[in-house]
Each structure stands twice: as structure tokens, then as C-alpha cells.
């Protein structure tokens, strides 16, 4: 089935000061699919990801369009706080706040001013279930989130992002700080999540891209080299550079 487009980057160019790190990247991210951005260190994939919900605002200059629901959200007049509620982000390192598990999950809702206890309770359970963490923590919701294991912390961070009910979730190497068991748990979680959310993920781990992603974009030195269905990219890459990267000739 051909999916509708959830988010579109059009001729994206990113500069750190004078230095250009991303050149003319145009990508259409299909809705309810997992798209992986792969590439070597310094290829600009994380920079592209962070530009998508305006996390680069104070860090870099982002040119080009980012179209979301027919609106170019890469414009100064756009409310970035609302954008980030719609396009959430999960980071490489699990970053639970030094609060209880419960308070961590509803952090975003509290920001938005939600006070209704029933709504909050319900959203905590829903989000933790979606992140496949509910059964493990349902009896210790009031305890500090810092006591959880690394994998649990990362799923908590995913739950925290889900709790604001975004449409799109950006993930910046979400499993690179985790052990293989936690990694596979999170990968399973991602597959469940794409029913409701669109996921865009940066990964260094090519098996991860091939296992979980429906679409894969390969970036090299700031340029988008190839973007296709994951199976095509891995089995039948059109570009020599992609083939070289996948076969480990550089990386």
C-alpha cells in the first residue's frame, strides 16, 4: 500500500555558522511507517532529524521547507512549542528527569497545562502500555525513574514522548546506548507503534534499519544519496556509494 506523506523536507540545507553540513535534502516521510536515516558519522543524518522539529533553532541555520499538514513549519512565525508537541523526539541517551515515573510520563501534558487527574492517569497507563513498559512499572509509578534500568529508562522516554500524542516521533539513535536485549525490546515496540505514529529514526546500526524500517534513506557527507524501501536499499542499491557503505567499504 502506498502511504500518504506525514512530513516532507524540501531542499533542506543546514549551516553551522559558515559551514554547510547538509545540502539540498528532499525527503517525503510516509505516514505510519518507520523511516531510517543511515550513514557514517558526520553524514548529517542527525542534523536533518533535529531540523525536522526545529531542535536546531539555536544551534544552526536551517534553510528550505519542512511541510507538515500543508504548512511550512520552518518559518519564524510558527509556534515551535506546538510543533514539538506534534513532532516529538527521543534521544540517544535515556534522559529520564529526576522525578517519579508517573511525573516523567506526564511531563509534556503538565507543560500543556493538563490538570485533570483522570486524564493524566489514563494517559500514563496508555503511554506506558504503548511503550511496553506498563507491566514492569505499574506498581512503582511513584518511585524515582532513575532507579530503572537503561532499557526501561529509554522506553520511559518513549512513553513520555507518546503521552503528548504526537503524530510523528523522531528518534536519534534510540538504542545505541543499550544492550542487545533492551534493543530488541525497543525494536519490537517500534513496530507496534507505527500503527498509530509515524517514526523517523537515525541509526548507526544497519541491522536495525533492515529489521525495523520500512523505508531507508542513506546520507553521505551532507547529501542524500538514496531513499527507497528498505528492502530495495539493502538488496538492490542503485548507487555505488550505498552499496559500498552497506558492504562496509567505509563507515
Amino acid at each position: 500500500m502506498q502511504n500518504s506523506v506525514a512530513l516532507e523536507a524540501k531542499q533542506l540545507a543546514v549551516f553551522y555558522g559558515e559551514k554547510q553540513v547538509v545540502y539540498d535534502v528532499s525527503l517525503k516521510f510516509p505516514a505510519n511507517q518507520i523511516t531510517a536515516l543511515i550513514g557514517a558519522s558526520g553524514s548529517g543524518k542527525s542534523t536533518v532529524l533535529r531540523s525536522l522539529n526545529r531542535m536546531n533553532d539555536d544551534v544552526a541555520t536551517v534553510k528550505g521547507e519542512i511541510n507538515f499538514h500543508g504548512l511550512n513549519i520552518n518559518e519564524p512565525k510558527v509556534n515551535v512549542y506546538r510543533v514539538r508537541q506534534q513532532i516529538g523526539m527521543v534521544f540517544q541517551q535515556p534522559t529520564p528527569f529526576p522525578l517519579s515515573i508517573y511525573e516523567n510520563v506526564i511531563y509534556g501534558l503538565r507543560l500543556a497545562g493538563e490538570k485533570n487527574k483522570e486524564v493524566l492517569d489514563q494517559r500514563v497507563e496508555e503511554s506506558l502500555r504503548q511503550a511496553a513498559l506498563w507491566d514492569e512499572v505499574k506498581d512503582q509509578l511513584k518511585e524515582s525513574a532513575l532507579a530503572l534500568s537503561g532499557g526501561q529508562q529509554q522506553r520511559l522516554c518513549i512513553a513520555r514522548t507518546l503521552a503528548v500524542r504526537p503524530e510523528i516521533i523522531l528518534m536519534d539513535e534510540p538504542t545505541s546506548a543499550l544492550d542487545p536485549v533492551s534493543t530488541s525490546q525497543i525494536e519490537d515496540t517500534l513496530v507496534q507503534l507505527k500503527e498509530k505514529f509515524t517514526i523517523i529514526m537515525v541509526t548507526h546500526n544497519m541491522q536495525q534499519a533492515s529489521r525495523s524500517a520500512d523505508w531507508t534513506a542513506f546520507m553521505h557527507q551532507g547529501h542524500l544519496v538514496e531513499f527507497d524501501k528498505t528492502a530495495n536499499i539493502f538488496m538492490n542499491p542503485q548507487e555505488q556509494k550505498t552499496a559500498d557503505y552497506l558492504s562496509g567499504k567505509f563507515g
Partner: protein, 299 residues
């Protein structure tokens, strides 16, 4: 093979170095421990002499308001009250200001501001207290005299001087505790749609809470123990303070003015040692408080 076995069992230059290093460290630890122990014992013995040797009642010492060493009146309550007042007042004024400056420097202004301010603040921390006292004497006291009448000397003047003295310490420590909050917290919070202010109030301040409290207690401990600068501006009248513009005396200022004018072993001299003992107990209490607060933060 036998030779190697011998070689392995013999002491070498490295193992001797190890032994001598241990000896030096243990000696240093013993010296410091002994020093602290001696001070504690000495001060305690001297401090309770007023009650054991001169048979002055402890209750009257702590609750009496009449301090006239010449007439055998040793009521220390005025000084205790004044010491606590100037400490609490200066702490209460300094904390919010230190917090605001620290937040501005760490969270809002570009990092070159921090690079500029850090050495400036450290310089301010290192200025000798007599300079602050002199500043109080020549600027603050006349200013207060003009604004409120009276002599200008008193609790308010002392509070102002102490405020100036502890502000850099508290600011610098608050900055350190805010900077210790992981950058990832800020990113994660921003990623969830938080504004900068929401991130500061909901994540950064709670995370840095114990560090900020430590900064406050540390600053107040310094204010409590400060002698010279306070003595220069407080007026040194050993009576119960009736208002902030009234001249008064703290535990420390009575000590610095009185210790040279009394004869060792007399009741008047012993009474000063008792004041010193109170100071010691209070600084121990402050230290304990800092420990408690910072341990709570670690979790």
C-alpha cells in the same frame, strides 16, 4: 627461574615509594585530625569554664539580655539574636538575587558571558573581609544615615555588607550546581515542547535543588562566622536589638572587640570563650546541614 622468583619477592624502588607515600599521608591525616581535635577540646574546656569554674548559670547565659562583664552579667541572648538576624536577613536577600544571576548566566546568556563572569565572581569571593567592611563604613553607613537618620551603624548596615560578601559565593556555587544539570535534560524537555522557562522551573531548578540549598547554607555559614566586616559597621552595642537601624553586636564582633581587653582566666574572658563555643557549635550545625542537604540530592 630462581633468580626471577627472588626478584619478585624483593622490595624495589616502586614498593619503597609506595611505603613512604603511605607514611607521609598518614602523618598528614594525623596532624590535621590532631589539630581539629585539639581545637575542639580546647574550645570546649575554655567555653564551659564560665559555668563550671565561675558558676554562672547556663540558662542565664543563653536567655539573659544583660551583657555587662564588669558587673558579672553575661546574658548572651542579644548577640545570639543579632547574629541570627544578620545571617538570615542577608541570606534571604542574597539567595533570590544569586539564583536570578545564576539562571541568567547559565541558561540565557551566551557562554562568553559566563567565561567573563566566572573569574570576576571568583575574584569577589577572594576579597578580604576588611575591604568589604571598609566599603560598608565609607559607603553604606553614611548612605543609611542619610536615608533613615540615626548613626547609620547597625543591623541593616551589617546585613548589607554581609549580603555583598556572600552574594559572590552563593552565585558561584549556584552557577556550578545549575551547570551540573545534564545538558540532555534541557534537550529532552525542549523536545517535549517546553519553553525555556518551563524547562528551568520544572527540570533544571528541581534537579539543582540540593546544590542551590547548599549554596545558601554555605553563604549563611559564612555570614554567621564573619567578624571583622560586621564589627566595622554594626556599632557594637551589646544590647537587645529593637530595630534594624539600631546599633547591636554579634557573637563574632563581641569576640573581636573584647578578647584583647580581658584577662585570661577571669569570668569576663571565660564568657567570651563561651561565645566562641556557641559559634563553633553553630558552624558544626551548618556543616551538618550542608551534608544533609547535599546527601538528599544524590538519591
Amino acid at each position: 627461574m630462581d633468580n626471577l622468583r627472588k626478584e619478585l619477592l624483593r622490595p624495589s624502588a616502586e614498593s619503597k615509594q609506595e611505603v613512604s607515600g603511605k607514611v607521609v599521608s598518614y602523618f598528614a591525616i594525623l596532624l590535621i585530625g590532631g589539630l581539629v581535635g585539639t581545637i575542639l577540646i580546647f574550645l570546649t574546656v575554655k567555653g564551659i569554664a564560665l559555668f563550671t569554674g565561675n558558676h554562672f548559670s547556663l540558662r542565664e547565659f543563653l536567655t539573659g539580655v544583660n551583657w555587662q562583664p564588669g558587673h558579672h552579667h553575661f546574658g548572651a541572648l542579644p548577640m545570639i539574636t543579632t547574629s541570627f538576624s544578620v545571617t538570615v536577613f542577608s541570606g534571604l536577600v542574597a539567595l533570590p538575587l544569586a539564583l536570578v544571576v545564576a539562571i541568567a548566566i547559565t541558561e540565557m546568556l551566551p557562554s562568553r558571558v559566563y567565561k567573563f563572569f566566572q573569574p570576576v565572581i571568583e575574584l569577589l569571593v577572594g576579597i578580604p573581609s576588611v575591604v568589604y567592611g571598609y566599603l560598608g563604613l565609607t559607603v553604606i553607613v553614611p548612605q543609611l544615615r542619610q536615608m533613615f537618620g540615626g548613626t547609620g551603624f547597625g543591623i541593616l548596615a551589617a546585613t548589607c555588607v554581609l549580603f555583598l560578601m556572600i552574594l559572590p559565593t552563593m552565585t558561584s556555587m549556584t552557577i556550578d550546581s545549575l551547570r551540573a544539570v545534564p545538558q540532555s535534560y534541557r534537550q529532552a524537555s525542549t523536545g517535549l515542547g517546553a519553553t525555556r522557562w518551563q524547562t528551568i522551573s520544572r527540570v533544571i531548578l528541581p534537579s539543582a535543588k540540593s546544590g542551590i540549598l547548599t549554596a545558601m547554607v554555605f553563604g549563611m555559614a559564612r555570614a554567621f562566622g564573619e567578624a571583622l566586616a560586621v564589627q566595622m559597621v554594626i556599632g557594637n552595642t551589646t544590647v537587645m536589638p529593637k530595630g534594624v537601624m539600631e546599633s547591636a553586636a554579634t557573637l563574632t564582633s563581641v569576640l573581636t572587640t573584647g578578647i584583647g581587653n580581658t584577662v585570661m582566666g577571669t569570668a569576663a574572658n571565660n564568657a567570651l570563650w563561651s561565645l566562641a563555643l556557641i559559634l563553633l557549635i553553630m558552624s558544626l550545625a551548618f556543616n551538618l546541614l550542608i551534608r544533609l542537604v547535599s546527601r538528599k540530592g544524590v538519591r
